[in-house]
């Protein structure tokens, strides 16, 4: 069975500090991977997707970047956090164009 993990579970960071959020999926090779962001009380927005190692497509620009250094790993990062980056970050995978499955999420608070 496939499992998807996200780390950390929660982060409190200062404005201007760097950020790195991770997502790993186990039990599935070459998954399509996705990053989503949700502001408190807001709609889920897709940020990035990746269909293969080293290839990432941006959907919404939020002064964030993503990378896929390994087949089972998807990283979301920025060198300088903004207050507007606060929210809930979700990683998901999608087998062959069908349903999406989500990780447990990372709650980020930027102060």
């Amino acid at each position: 069975a496939q499992t998807i993990h996200q780390w950390p579970v929660a982060e409190i960071k200062a404005v201007g500090s760097p950020l790195s959020l991770g997502c790993t999926i186990k039990g599935k090779s070459s998954p399509n991977l996705y990053w989503y962001w949700q502001a408190t009380g807001g709609t889920l927005q897709q940020l990035f997707y990746s269909i293969t190692v080293g290839q990432v497509e941006s959907v919404v620009q939020l002064n964030l970047s993503a990378s896929r250094p390994k087949d089972d790993q998807f990283i979301l990062s920025t060198e300088k956090l903004l207050l507007s980056h606060s929210g809930f970050y979700l990683c998901a995978w999608r087998p062959g164009g069908r349903e999406q499955y989500f990780g447990p999420g990372t709650r980020l608070t930027v102060l």
């Binding site: 399509n32 996705y34 989503y36 949700q38 709609t43 889920l44 927005q45 897709q46 997707y49 269909i51 497509e57 959907v59 809930f88 979700l90 998901a92 999608r94 164009g97 069908r98 349903e99 999406q100 499955y101 989500f102 447990p104 999420g105 709650r107």
Partner: protein, 109 residues
């Protein structure tokens, strides 16, 4: 691009009542998925229903593709059903997924 609207925005029920949630989308959809988002934020897939009617437990989803709408019926609601219900549609032939605005359901004991 694809737009997804859900209604009602919020709904309050007494335990045991039924709920009817709606999802309307602006462009043709070959896939549609309903999710439950807990108050803590985690998402759970409920149903994948691109067309027709599907049942699982107390949930029934009916999607009328040509009318670009889908509904989610929750029968005999329970307090544990409280949370936000989201529909999501990936536009055809792309990896871009659009989520609806959500329906916040509160079931009172």
């Amino acid at each position: 691009g694809q737009q997804v609207q859900q209604s009602p925005a919020s709904l309050v029920l007494q335990e045991g009542e039924n709920a009817e949630l709606q999802c309307n989308f602006s462009s043709t959809a070959t896939q549609l998925q309903w999710f439950y988002q807990s108050p803590g934020g985690s998402l759970v897939s409920l149903l994948s229903n691109p067309s027709g009617t599907k049942h699982t437990g107390r949930l029934t989803s009916t999607t009328v593709t040509k009318e670009r709408r889908s509904s989610l019926h929750i029968s005999s609601s329970q307090t544990t059903d409280s949370g936000t219900y989201l529909c999501a549609i990936p536009p055809s032939n792309t990896n871009k997924v659009v989520f609806g605005t959500g329906t916040r359901l509160q079931v009172l004991p």
